[in-house]
Amino acid sequence: MINLPELGIGVTHFVILSTLLFGIGLFGALAKRNAVMVLICIEIMLNAVNINLIAFSKFITPLAFVGQLWAMFVITVAAAEVGVGLAIIIAIYRNKLSIELDDFDWLKW
C-alpha cells in the first residue's frame, strides 16, 4: 500500500486538484459551443467531485468509507446522465441540424 502521508501528500493536495478540475470543468461547461463538449466538461466536474469525496473519506474518516460509497453513486448517476444527455442532443440535432449551443436561443425575448 502506498503510504501517502510519508510522501508528504495531504488532503489539501487532493482538494486543490479537485478544485482545479472542477474549475476547468465549470469553465468548459459554460464556455464550450459544442453540446458534446459541455457533456464532457460536466463529466470532468463530476469526477472532480468524486476525487474530493474520496480524498475526504480517505484522510478524515478512513474507517467509515462514506465518501467512497457516495462516489460510487455519483459515477452511476453520471453515467445515466450522459446517456440521457446524449439522447437529448440527438433529438435536438434531428430537429435543428446543429449542436451549437449558441444557436439554441428560442427562449430569447
Partner: protein, 641 residues
C-alpha cells in the same frame, strides 16, 4: 290710488314680468295678442308708476328721506342678511316714470315696426322681460338686487341684439355686447362684494349712512379701489371709453331695441348706478374726478367719430355714447340733478330719433342701416317722421326751448362753476360737434334735394303716434328744470339744492355753438356737398382715423390675438411637450428603456443562464464568508456550537 301705488310699487316690475310669462307660456302662437299683452303690461306699469311718482313728489318727506320697504331674501350667516325691496326716492321715482313711459311708447311702436317678422311673439316676450328687469333695477333698494337686475338686462340685451339670428353680424354683436359688459360686471361684482365685506350691508340707505364715515371701517386706499371697481360696471354698461365698443355694433338689433335699450334705458343703468351710489364717489374725490374725466373724454371721443360715420343708426349710437359721457361728466362733478336731468331729456329725444330712423328704414323697406348719403329729401315723402326727427335734432343740438338745451346747459354750467375748465372746454367742443354731426345727418337725409332712386312712404299711425308723443316730450320735457324755475333741482339733488343764478354767458355760449354747428352742417352738406368730399380728401389721415373709430376695435383684436391666443398657444405647447411629452411619454419611456435593458439577460442560451447560477452561488459564498460564521453555519444546515 296714490297710496295703493306707493305701497305696491313692486307691481311695476312685476306686471311686465307677468306679461313675459303669459307670452312665453300661453300666447306664443297668437302674435298680435302677444304684442298687446306686452304693451298692456307696460302701460299698466306706467299707470302705477305715474301714481307712485306723483305720490313721491308731493310728499316732502319722501323727497328728503326715501320710502323704502323690503323683505328678507336670504341670510348667509348671523348678521349677514340680504333683503330685497323697493326704494322710492325722487331719483328712482323719476327713472321709474321715464322707463315705463318711454317703454310703453316704444312697445306700441314695435307693434307696427315688427309686423310680419319671424319671431314676433319671442320679440315681445324679450321686451317684456327687459322691461321687468329694468324696472327692478330702478326701484331696487339693495345693491345685490340691483346687480341681479343688471345682469338680467344684459341678458335681454344679448337676446334682443341677436334677434335676427340668421345674420352672423347680429350674433357676433350680441356676443360682443355680453362679453364686454361681463368684463365690466366683474369689476362691479368685486366692488359690491368689497362693500358687503367692509360695511356689512348692501342696502343703499344703510350704505349712504355708513360710507361718509368710511374711515372707521377701512383706509382711504381701499375705499378708492372699491370705488374704482364699482365704477367699472358703468364703464361697460354705459359705454364709456374704453368699453364703448359694443354699442355701435349693437345697432344690429331691431330699431325698437336700439331705441329702448341702447338709448333710453339699459345704457343709462350705469349712470343710474353711479347716481345711486354717489355718496361713495363723494367720499373719494379722486374717483369722482376719474368719472368726470372719463365722461368728458368719452363725450368728445364719440362725437368726433360720429362726424365721419355714414349710417343713420351708427351715428345715433355714437351720439348715445357721447351723451352718456355728458351724464357721467355731470355726475363726476357731483351734480346729481344735472346728470339725471340730461338722462331724462336724452331718453326722450334719443328714443325719438332712433324711432324716426326706424321709421325711415320701414319707409324705404330696408332692414339694413341706411346710408345717409344715399337718402335725400325724405321730408316730403315722410313728413311726420321728418318733422319729429328735426325736433329731436333741435333738442339734442341744444336749441331752446327744446329739452336738450336745458339739460346740456346745466351740465356745462356745473362743470364750469366747479372749476373743471379743461372738461368744460371738452364739453363745449362736444356740444358744437353734436350739433354738427346730428344736423349733417338731418340735412343729408331729409332736407336735401330728393334722390329719385329712393321710394319711401310714411309709416302707419301705430308708429308715428309714439313719434309725435316723444316729440312733445322732447320739446317740453326740459321745462321742469329751467334755471328760473328749477323744479327739478328741488326734487332731485345730492346734498343741498343748488340755487345758482342763471348763467346767461354759458346759455348764450351754448346756443351760439349749437347754431354754429347747424350752420356749418348746412353750408357743407346742403349748399356745397363737394366740399365735404374735398375736406375728406384733404384731411385724409384724420378722416380715416375717425371713420375707423380710432381703430379701437382693431387694437382690442390685436390684444386678444397676441395675449389671449398667445397664452392659449403657450399652454397648448405646454400640454403637448411637457404634460404629454415629458410626463406621460417620459414614464412610458422609462418603462420601455428599463425593459430594454433588462431584456438583454434573456438570451435564451443555456450557458448564459448557467453562468448566472454560478455567479449567484459565488456571490452567496462571498457574502457568507464576509459575515460571521454563525449565519453561514445556520444557512448550511450545521449546528451552532
Amino acid at each position: 290710488m296714490v297710496e295703493f301705488a306707493l305701497d305696491h310699487a313692486w307691481l311695476v316690475p312685476l306686471l311686465p314680468a307677468l306679461s313675459f310669462l303669459i307670452i312665453v307660456f300661453l300666447t306664443r302662437q297668437f302674435k298680435l295678442l302677444s304684442g298687446l299683452v306686452c304693451v298692456a303690461g307696460m302701460v299698466s306699469a306706467f299707470v302705477i308708476a305715474a301714481y307712485a311718482t306723483y305720490g313721491v313728489f308731493t310728499n316732502h318727506e319722501f323727497i328728503e328721506h326715501s320710502l323704502e320697504y323690503s323683505v328678507r331674501w336670504f341670510s348667509l350667516a348671523p348678521g349677514v342678511n340680504v333683503d330685497v325691496g323697493v326704494r322710492l326716492d325722487p331719483v328712482s321715482a323719476m327713472m321709474m316714470l321715464m322707463v315705463t313711459l318711454v317703454s310703453s311708447l316704444i312697445f306700441i311702436y314695435a307693434l307696427g315696426y315688427m309686423e310680419g317678422e319671424y319671431g314676433f311673439s319671442a320679440f315681445f316676450s324679450y321686451l317684456s322681460l327687459f322691461g321687468a328687469s329694468m324696472l327692478l333695477l330702478v326701484i331696487s333698494s339693495n345693491l345685490l338686487e340691483m346687480f341681479v337686475a343688471w345682469e338680467l338686462v344684459g341678458l335681454c340685451s344679448y337676446l334682443l341684439i341677436g334677434f335676427y339670428n340668421h345674420k352672423i353680424s347680429a350674433r357676433e354683436a350680441a356676443k360682443k355686447a355680453f362679453v364686454t359688459c361681463r368684463i365690466a360686471d366683474f369689476g362691479l361684482l368685486l366692488g359690491l362684494l368689497s362693500l358687503q365685506i367692509i360695511f356689512g350691508t348692501l342696502n343703499i340707505g344703510e350704505l349712504a349712512e355708513k360710507v361718509p364715515h368710511f374711515q372707521q371701517y377701512t383706509s382711504a386706499g381701499v375705499m378708492t379701489i372699491v370705488a374704482v371697481l364699482i365704477f367699472l360696471g358703468p364703464i361697460g354698461k354705459s359705454g364709456q371709453f374704453p368699453l364703448h365698443v359694443w354699442l355701435p355694433d349693437a345697432m344690429e338689433g331691431p330699431t325698437p331695441v336700439s331705441a329702448l335699450i341702447h338709448a333710453a334705458t339699459m345704457v343709462v343703468a350705469g349712470v343710474y348706478l353711479v347716481a345711486r351710489t354717489l355718496f361713495i364717489f363723494d367720499a373719494v374725490p379722486a374717483v369722482a374726478q376719474l368719472i368726470a374725466v372719463t365722461g368728458g373724454f368719452t363725450a368728445i371721443f364719440a362725437a368726433s367719430i360720429a362726424v365721419t360715420q355714414r349710417n343713420l343708426k351708427r351715428i345715433l349710437a355714437y351720439s348715445t355714447i357721447s351723451q352718456l359721457g355728458y351724464m357721467m361728466l355731470a355726475l363726476g362733478v357731483m351734480s346729481l340733478s344735472a346728470g339725471m336731468f340730461h338722462l331724462w331729456t336724452h331718453a326722450f329725444f334719443k328714443a325719438l330719433m332712433f324711432l324716426c330712423a326706424g321709421s325711415v328704414m320701414h319707409g324705404i323697406a330696408s332692414h339694413d342701416d341706411p346710408d345717409a348719403f344715399e337718402c335725400g329729401g325724405l321730408l316730403k315723402k315722410m313728413p311726420i317722421t321728418g318733422v319729429t326727427f328735426i325736433i329731436g335734432g333741435l333738442a339734442i343740438a341744444g336749441i331752446p326751448p327744446f329739452a336738450g338745451f336745458w339739460s346740456k346747459d346745466e351740465i356745462l354750467s356745473v362743470t364750469l362753476h366747479s372749476g373743471h375748465y379743461v372738461l368744460f372746454a371738452m364739453a363745449a367742443c362736444t356740444a358744437f360737434l353734436t350739433a354738427f354731426y346730428m344736423w349733417r345727418m338731418i340735412f343729408l337725409v331729409f332736407l336735401r334735394d330728393e334722390n329719385p332712386k329712393i321710394h319711401a312712404h310714411e309709416s302707419p299711425l301705430v308708429m308715428t303716434g309714439p313719434l309725435m308723443a316723444l316729440a312733445v316730450l322732447a320739446s317740453a320735457g326740459g321745462l321742469i328744470g329751467t334755471p328760473w324755475a328749477n323744479f327739478w333741482g328741488e326734487w332731485i339733488k345730492y346734498g343741498d339744492a343748488h340755487h345758482a343764478p342763471p348763467d346767461y354767458l354759458v346759455m348764450g355760449g351754448s346756443v351760439v355753438l349749437a347754431v354754429a354747428g347747424i350752420s356749418l352742417a348746412y353750408y357743407i352738406y346742403v349748399k356745397n356737398l363737394d366740399l365735404a368730399h374735398e375736406l375728406a380728401r384733404r384731411f385724409r389721415g384724420i378722416h380715416t382715423l375717425l371713420l375707423n373709430k380710432y381703430y379701437v376695435d382693431e387694437i382690442y383684436l390685436w390684444f386678444n390675438h397676441t395675449f389671449v391666443d398667445g397664452a392659449a398657444k403657450l399652454l397648448y405647447l405646454f400640454d403637448i411637450y411637457i404634460v404629454d411629452g415629458v410626463i406621460i411619454n417620459g414614464i412610458g419611456a422609462i418603462t420601455r428603456e428599463t425593459g430594454g435593458g433588462l431584456r438583454i439577460f434573456q438570451t435564451g442560451r443555456l450557458q448564459n443562464y448557467a453562468l448566472v447560477f454560478f455567479l449567484g452561488v459565488l456571490a452567496a459564498a462571498v457574502i457568507l464568508a464576509m459575515t460571521s460564521g454563525a449565519s453561514a453555519a445556520s444557512l448550511l444546515g450545521g449546528g451552532v456550537k
